[in-house]
Chain length 213, copies 2
């Protein structure tokens, strides 16, 4: 079988990918503020569904960029999402990528309270405080608890990236965030993932640090 590869230099692959995404979007015009986020998510997933599911609260992108430039850290609900965040770009603006899922005190608290570890992570985040963007790519229970903590005035993230994936309470957890007054970027519906969460964080970081794309 004959397979013909496109000749693209290593450092041109990302640029060419974005060109293809734009070509396939055709006449569709995205709001320029959100376009870099949406395109990076499609680059990460090859899934054009995100054109219609990604939902932004007013000024969410600008608020995320401002938070990052003020040294906000990014808290994720999986090690996988944390692993996908561009640490060099985050370090440039003075932030850290955090995830509490493997912390023994989180496992202990979840066991004692009969919750998920993701729920216990949000409790830990509320207790620690700080300047935080919270990116949830996996556990709807994290979003549900986060919403509850916000209602109780116990946490006030600068931005919530709400893109858990799956079948049980995923759609509902996103509706909770969509109905709140917190700045958010949410992928409506069942789709999302740790890769999507990391892609959104990286798109914001590239905007915050002036990197091309």
């Amino acid at each position: 079988m004959k397979v013909t590869l496109q000749q693209v230099l290593p450092n041109e692959i990302e640029k060419r990918s974005f060109q293809i995404i734009e070509e396939e979007m055709g006449q569709l015009q995205l709001d320029p503020e959100v376009a870099p986020i949406v395109k990076r998510v499609i680059h990460t997933t090859a899934d054009f569904d995100y054109l219609r599911t990604l939902t932004f609260s007013p000024g969410a992108v600008a608020k995320g960029i401002a938070a990052l430039r003020e040294g906000a850290s990014i808290l994720t609900d999986t090690q996988m999402a944390r692993s996908g965040i561009n640490k060099a770009a985050l370090a440039k603006v003075g932030g850290e990528a955090l995830c509490f899922m493997s912390d023994p005190d989180v496992a202990q608290a979840a066991k004692e309270k009969g919750t998920t570890r993701a729920t216990a992570c949000m409790d830990k985040a509320a207790a620690l405080g700080g300047n935080l963007i919270i990116a949830v790519g996996n556990a709807p229970t994290a979003l549900v608890r986060l919403h509850q903590l916000m209602e109780e005035g116990k946490i006030a993230p600068r931005l919530i990236i709400g893109v858990p994936v799956g079948f049980v309470n995923v759609v509902e957890s996103k509706e909770l965030i969509l109905s709140s007054s917190v700045p958010f970027i949410v992928a409506r519906g069942r789709k999302g993932g740790s890769n999507v969460a990391a892609a959104i964080c990286n798109a914001l970081l590239y905007l915050a640090t002036g990197r091309a794309l």
Copy 2:
């Protein structure tokens, strides 16, 4: 806005998710050998496209399980995929999760040869040898180089999980693997990802270790 959450115990969420996936598949019957892999990928992505894109060489699942039970290590092309692999399950069968993407010698080799780091990772894998399952969730250049090294008799992975995502040479790199005689699990088309690669590894690990689901 009133959002009603389903009441599901933390340790029941995964089981309930798989039930929903099966319900939505309706009358569709999957080959029992590949069903656990396909369902776990849908669980990870909420994307039923994988029902038609996931492609298995004959006996690929059995070969993957056998390799893991013989202590094969899993080499990934991203730290993110490595991060998503269930290390406890892998340790049970004596394997390790490896990724060379952050290794200084890989960066150096890629720079010298004008290739991607993913390409250089495959060269490193060939040089080191060993009992390997190779899971590519991101870089088509890794699959292209891997195919070339196999043709040259320089590497013989026990199984290739070929699920890179994207727009430049992704489809083509998968066609190379589909046309080869190596045992493979490939997601045809543009979709895939580090999360998909990790999900397939974990599904194999759960089969290899006798974990439910």
